[in-house]
């Protein structure tokens, strides 16, 4: 009877379960984490400006916090953009972890439709895998987060364990997620089976599991129902959002309340007189030269805004803007300079699946030319009959420029030193392959080790 006396109903705060929030809320916020400001600024620094494709941009006097350091490859463990992404990835993983726990608890308490439950689990795992993939690419060995086990927060586990964890998440997501065409319309934009397969193919590529990458890319090609947009220039426009080429995008809308990757277009919009943005993350001369050397005018003109040109929507880019080139893939016609972009950020698209297939094929002896030339054909480039892996690397660079992959591609393929030297930067072998673990994290968890060379 005294136990009954101690069973007191809470009044002050509504308990977790009583709040009765549909588990979908927690999955939604995991997507939401990908629309945070970090992905509009810090992310540009650690994926693009650091590479040979892009320069810092803006004005010489505006360092963009620390973007000048990343651009010059002089970043350190205290570079804020690196810490911001580190924290952001863990925030996202945390939300996915909590969602996964909540889904189970909710199911136990109230019951969930099995298909719905599977879908939610698949979405959370896909989003978690994506963040782990970003983490492991940048930092190598990283903590494997258990939100309930604080001891896990400060211990790095090996890169291979993280990759195994990502694979397991994606395999489970593949088994649970519906295909893109199986979703009701209002759920367009959620993670799909194809998205998980595409990401897994890419993960295999980074792991150099060539046969697996080849097979998984093949699965997407044969069963996903995806294809290429006819006109490359439209691939990054609002008109093709969630279209045939899209495996996964970060969703955005322009109307009030606006919602998208916060300020993604604004940070990269043309700067100066008649400009509409801050002018960061500008195409490098090195990239322009690469397009020109290949005679790749279609992709060049779809990727780069030139000072003084007239854009596809009729906007005249003043000759007064501060930099000669800007990133056209970040340009949005509707709310170009507004706080939130209305542009969906393409994370995985079908052209990359073809290139993964082609690259893996060069190692496993499959058909590399077929998928490669589909990509080249769209932009009126001559087919290559027996492509080398170098051909495919170059194709990746031009096809996927400003899609946040270039730096990791040159590191992955061992081109770092040469590529950066060609861009006038010094890539220190044995150091620059990984980013430094943020200093602030090491102060918090002194037993965590730093990456070599930092």
């Amino acid at each position: 009877c005294s136990d009954d006396f101690l069973d007191v109903d809470p009044r002050e705060n509504i308990e977790d379960v009583d709040s009765n929030l549909d588990p979908e809320f927690y999955v939604n916020s995991t997507y939401g984490s990908y629309t945070e400001w970090d992905f509009a600024f810090s992310w540009l620094g650690v994926t693009e400006m650091i590479s040979d494709n892009a320069d810092k941009g803006s004005s010489p006097s505006d360092a963009g916090g620390d973007k000048n350091l990343l651009d010059a490859l002089t970043h350190t463990s205290t570079t804020g953009s690196i810490q911001a992404m580190w924290t952001r990835f863990y925030t996202t993983i945390n939300r996915a972890n909590y969602a996964l726990g909540y889904i189970e608890n909710y199911d136990e308490a109230y019951g969930l439709d099995a298909a719905y439950k599977n879908r939610l689990i698949g979405e959370a795992k896909f989003l978690r895998a994506l963040s782990y993939f970003y983490l492991v690419r940048m930092f190598g060995d990283v903590p494997l987060l258990d939100i309930n086990e604080s001891a896990s927060w400060g211990v790095r586990v090996t890169k291979s364990e993280i990759y195994a964890y990502i694979e397991a998440d994606l395999q489970d997501a593949i088994s649970k997620l519906p295909n893109k065409n199986e979703y009701p319309a209002e759920d367009l934009g959620r993670a799909t089976k194809g998205a998980a397969q595409g990401l897994l193919a890419k993960v295999f590529l980074y792991e150099e599991k060539w046969q697996d990458a080849y097979d998984m890319a093949g699965t997407v090609m044969s069963t996903g129902g995806y294809g290429l947009e006819a006109d490359y220039a439209t691939v990054w426009r609002e008109s093709t959002e969630n279209g045939i080429e899209s495996l996964f995008e970060i969703q955005a809308r322009g109307e009030v309340v606006a919602h998208g990757v916060q300020q993604y277009s604004q940070t990269q919009g043309a700067r100066g007189t008649s400009g509409w943005g801050w002018g960061f993350n500008t195409p490098s001369q090195n990239l322009l030269d690469a397009f020109n050397a290949e005679g790749d005018n279609i992709r060049r003109d779809a990727t780069i805004i030139f000072r003084g040109e007239t854009l596809w929507d009729g906007r005249e880019v003043s000759v007064e803007v501060e930099n000669p080139m800007y990133n056209e893939k970040a340009y949005t016609s509707f709310n170009s300079g507004d706080g939130d972009t209305d542009k969906n950020i393409r994370v995985i698209r079908y052209a990359e699946i073809l290139l993964i297939r082609a690259e893996a094929a060069t190692y496993v002896g499959g058909d590399a030319a077929g998928p490669l030339n589909q990509v080249r054909n769209r932009v009126n480039l001559a087919p290559i009959a027996s492509p080398t892996v170098q051909n495919i690397w170059k194709e990746r660079r031009l096809e996927l420029a400003f899609e946040h992959d270039r730096w990791f591609d040159i590191v992955r393929t061992g081109q770092g030193q040469a590529a950066m030297a060609a861009d006038g930067k010094t890539f220190v072998v044995g150091k620059h392959e990984l980013f430094p673990i943020p200093n602030a994290q090491l102060i918090q968890t002194p037993n965590m080790t730093q990456n070599p060379g930092w």
Partner: protein, 949 residues
């Protein structure tokens, strides 16, 4: 052994007459004193555990609004930190700090009833206070005993009718004020900083104003207290009736505090004293007009160039004319701080509280030695605060060029905060006492049920009410109104307890306690029941044959014990779910229409937090030598908090972004307590006693959970942190740069490791790890803010009708961070000490920075916190039977805090107040120990009179 209430009837009620009598003759009396130990009493000489006590006379001697203030320096191991603010609650820490946050206060028991504090008790109504310091004694209160137990027993009627009247009145002012720079020095300092920073806008040396801000905001405070008590008893009925009124005007303009208490304690004896009923009722009313202590902080920081008001009557602002460098209403600001006097003027708040408390107790003797007691009690509390903010006037005051026409916001706001709470308890216990030859046995077993936090709060705000105070209600607000009301989650506690005391021939004593507590707070956890045992033993050596009739050793007892305790007064754990319409972070868009879909996430982890567990062992010796002239105790204790709860700032790799509470560390407090005294009479009629006590406490974090180790805290509010959690250090240890001089030249800076932006005149920090870079890795530990020893000294003299007593209190081995000196934004005033010692160019100083300096946390601002205060000096004279009906009249004068000896350069190293007006939250990784906001120590002079009829 008698029950607590019955026995307290036998304890002499305090009176001046008896105070004097007690000093006559036999000094061994204290051993026969009764000590209340929870659900019973014991003779002091029979105790097996560490219990300290004070009697009414000690409390009466040091007039204070709450009795705990009077205890400072009187009891070893009981550390009382006083706050001099009117109506404030002192912080009490017993035997070191091992425990969490706001749950570090001792458990208070008044006449057997658990209460949340004793602020509502008139000190004049208190008969005795007994402090259970060790686990061996506190275990009777189980899950709530970890911080020690303070047991208050109020007075009861006894003997013939007695009327007492006590009154005192006094004045207060601030002491140990920091000497601030005047106009000339301020201008010089400001211009030096401006020049060093590369600025070109200087102040003129010719200025129209020279304001002493402390003069402007501080007054001499006054207070008055009147207390009347009537008590007495007949064979079957005893009564005590007391009324007290205390009124204080604080040292800040218009700061007021009033308290009225009424108490009635009655005792009834029925059926030949076989049934005893006692009833206690008290009512306490307070009325307070608070004023923001932030005004004192502003007075420290604001420039003396700024006037209180300009010639045209507008409020002063810290502006100066850029062309002429002269202060005036127009121009650019010297600093970003407000007007201290306006800050006080615009603050319009009042707080009323009412506390009703009472209990009813009945004890029935069933057979000889066996009695049963039932006790029920309750506390009801109402709090009501009203705050009026003249938003328009405040807006206008911030800039003399503003006009009313430009203002678009609400003209004023009116806020009410109301709290209503109720708590009750009901306990029943059986006491059995029996002696068989030399075997003495006493046992108590009982049950307790309790509920607290039954109630609600409501906050209401209305905008734009009429300016006339009579219309200050939300009903008359013409602007927006908001309301927030919530019910508290009540807390239930169920307990079973038992204690067995046995002694053989008054030589060998043993006590065993067990308590089992269940708490509703932890009902969702697996373990919401906990068992808390203790065992202790004592050997009274003086009762052995070989020491009988010994002329030197009158009393000698050895004690030792072990116990396990809990602390369930843990912070309320909230797992906040964040979900918001505007939040970019939580929401997302889906579908062809890209509809905005809401999301939710959790800010901090869900932690299975339960009570803290404390295990303590210790032992001691009590002695009286030389016919009781020399007396004392010595104790050792070792107290381990196995799962201390700390407020954790999550690490980046956790993915959480909000602080949370968790069991994070194991903390050990160990130390010694000594008290020693001497008392004697001389043949000339002088009676005197001298005593002292000291407590050495060593605090150490034994271990920390992995991801919590390395946590930083102690924010200076400017992005700089001063503390770090690490095993092997003490709780709340300082962690910062070590200063190794002052940069003298640019060349020196270029050639040595330095922080970014270093300039000549800046503090130079040591590159501890020699990596050529100054960063967090170069910070080191500098000890903590917790004193390693605290001590008190007491002297009392009586000669003829005169009585004279002195009490002093001190601490040592602690460090205080002078945050008000360090955390500057720019343009603040400085102390004369900083001004005079400053660096003014190469070779002028290698210890003190120049006017232009950085604001990193470093040991330059960390100072010794040792202090000694002469806390009380009292001189009195007794007129016995000299005035008609009055049996006695005593007049006395008292000085409190006559002086303080400290090397600390700020206001006071006795910090109970931290940021702004926030009360001391006790979080060792918060700002505790950082003086961020000035509040001076107060010196008091008072005169009083006691009549007894």
């Amino acid at each position: 052994v008698l029950s607590a209430q019955e026995d307290s009837l036998r304890i002499d009620q305090y009176s001046v007459e008896e105070l004097s009598d007690s000093l006559d003759g036999d000094f061994g009396l204290e051993l026969e004193e009764t000590v209340v130990v929870g659900y019973g009493t014991q003779k002091r000489g029979d105790l097996t555990s560490a219990v300290s006590s004070v009697k009414a006379e000690d409390i009466m001697k040091q007039p204070a609004t709450t009795a705990m203030q009077s205890l400072q320096g009187k009891l070893s191991g009981v550390n009382v930190l006083n706050s001099d603010a009117p109506g404030a609650t002192p912080t009490v820490i017993i035997r070191g700090m091992g425990t969490a946050l706001n749950g570090m206060n001792p458990l208070y028991i008044v006449d057997g009833l658990v209460v949340s504090n004793i602020n509502n008790i008139n000190p004049n109504d208190i008969q005795s206070i007994d402090v259970l310091k060790d686990a061996a004694s506190s275990a009777i209160y189980g899950v709530r005993g970890a911080n020690g137990v303070v047991i208050v027993t109020t007075k009861r009627g006894r003997g013939k009718t007695r009327i007492t009247y006590d009154a005192y009145a006094g004045v207060r002012n601030a002491m140990n004020m920091v000497d601030m720079a005047g106009t000339q020095e301020y201008v010089q300092y400001f211009n030096e900083a401006e020049a060093a920073a590369g600025g070109i806008e200087f102040l003129s040396t010719s200025q129209p104003y020279n304001t002493d801000w402390f003069d402007e905001v501080l007054n001499t405070g006054m207070f008055f207290n009147n207390s009347v008590a009537i008590s007495g008893s007949s064979d079957n009925f005893g009564y005590y009736f007391g009324v007290d009124h205390f009124a204080e005007e604080g040292i800040l303009d218009d700061n007021k505090f009033k308290r009225t208490t009424v108490r009635n304690n009655n005792d009834y004896k029925l059926f030949d004293n076989r049934l005893r009923i006692s009833q206690n009722i008290s009512a306490t009313f307070t009325h307070e007009i608070p004023k923001p202590f932030g005004a004192i902080d502003l007075a420290y920081r604001q420039s003396p160039l700024m006037p209180v008001t300009f010639a045209d009557g507008t409020w002063g602002v810290p502006n100066y004319n850029v062309e002429t460098g002269v202060a005036g209403p127009i121009g650019q600001p010297m600093n970003s701080h407000g007007n201290p006097v306006a800050n006080l003027y615009f603050n319009n708040e009042k707080i009323n509280t009412t506390t009703l408390q009472g209990n009813l107790e009945a004890t029935l003797d069933i057979v000889d030695g066996l009695s049963v007691t039932s006790r029920a009690g309750a506390t009801k509390y109402w709090y009501n605060k009203r705050a009026f903010a003249p938003l328009l006037d405040q807006w206008l005051a911030a800039d003399p060029t503003r006009t009313e026409a430009q203002y678009t916001g609400n003209k004023n706001s009116l806020t009410f905060n109301e709290i209503e709470t109720f708590r009750w308890s009901w306990e029943n216990f059986v006491t059995y006492t029996k002696s068989f030859g030399s075997h003495n046995l006493s046992a108590v077993v009982g049950v307790n049920a309790e509920e607290q936090s039954i109630g609600f709060f409501s906050n209401m705000t209305g905008y734009n009410v009429p300016v006339e105070e009579q219309y200050w209600s939300i009903h008359h607000a013409t602007g927006e109104t908001t309301i927030d009301q919530n019910n508290y989650t009540k807390k239930s506690l169920a307990s079973y307890f038992g204690r067995l005391q046995y002694d053989f021939d008054k030589r060998y004593f043993i006590t065993a306690i067990i308590r089992r507590d269940g708490s509703s707070t932890f009902y969702d956890n697996k373990d919401f029941w906990g068992t808390f045992p203790s065992i202790s033993a004592a050997w009274n050596v003086t009762n052995e044959e070989f020491l009988k009739d010994n002329g030197v050793i009158n009393f000698l007892k050895l004690r030792g014990g072990w116990g396990k305790l809990g602390n369930d007064n843990i912070p309320f754990i909230v797992n906040k779910i964040n979900t918001s319409l505007e939040s970019n972070s939580a929401n997302y868009v889906f579908g062809p229409g890209q509809d905005l879909i809401f999301g939710a996430y959790l800010g901090s982890p869900v932690k299975d937090v339960s009570w803290e567990i404390v295990k303590e062992y210790g032992g001691g010796v009590d002695f009286e030598f030389l016919s009781g002239k020399l007396f004392g105790t010595a104790d050792y204790y070792h107290k381990t908090t196995e799962n201390a709860i700390l407020k954790i700032t999550p690490v980046y790799s956790s993915g959480f972004n909000e602080d949370f509470y968790d069991h994070a560390a194991e903390i050990v407090n160990k130390g010694y307590e000594f008290s020693l005294g001497w008392r004697d009479n001389t043949s000339s009629g002088l009676r005197y006693s001298v005593s002292g006590n000291i407590n050495f406490n060593d605090n150490e974090i034994v271990s920390v959970l992995p991801a919590y180790e390395g946590m930083m805290g102690g924010s200076l509010g400017n992005g700089r942190l001063t503390k770090r959690l690490e095993a092997g250090q003490e709780l709340g240890s300082w962690w910062m740069y070590e200063v190794e001089g002052i940069w003298q030249s640019d060349e020196e800076i270029t050639n040595n490791p330095h922080i970014a932006g270093a300039q000549p005149g800046f503090l130079r920090y040591k590159d501890q790890n020699g990596d050529g870079v100054i960063d967090d890795r170069d910070k080191k530990f500098f000890g903590g803010y917790i004193p390693s020893y605290t001590y008190g000294v007491n002297l009392s003299l009586e000669y003829k009708g005169f009585d004279f007593s002195v009490t002093g209190y001190g601490v040592g081995g602690n460090k205080i961070y002078n945050g008000i000196n360090n955390a500057r934004i720019g343009g603040e005033n400085v102390s004369m000490e900083m001004y005079n010692d400053r660096w003014t160019g190469a070779g002028t100083s290698n210890t003190n920075p120049g006017a232009y300096r950085d604001y990193e946390a470093s040991n330059y601002y960390l100072e010794d916190g040792d202090y000694f205060r002469l806390s009380n000096v009292t001189l009195g004279y007794n007129f016995r039977d000299m005035f008609g009906a009055a049996r006695n009249m005593r007049v006395y004068v008292t000085a409190q805090n006559l002086f303080m000896i400290t090397k600390y350069s700020g206001f006071t190293p006795e910090l109970t107040r931290n940021t702004g007006d926030q009360p001391y939250d006790g979080n060792p990784y918060g700002t505790t120990g950082v003086e961020l906001s000035a509040y001076p120590t107060i010196r008091t002079f008072l005169a009083g009179v006691n009549f007894e009829f």
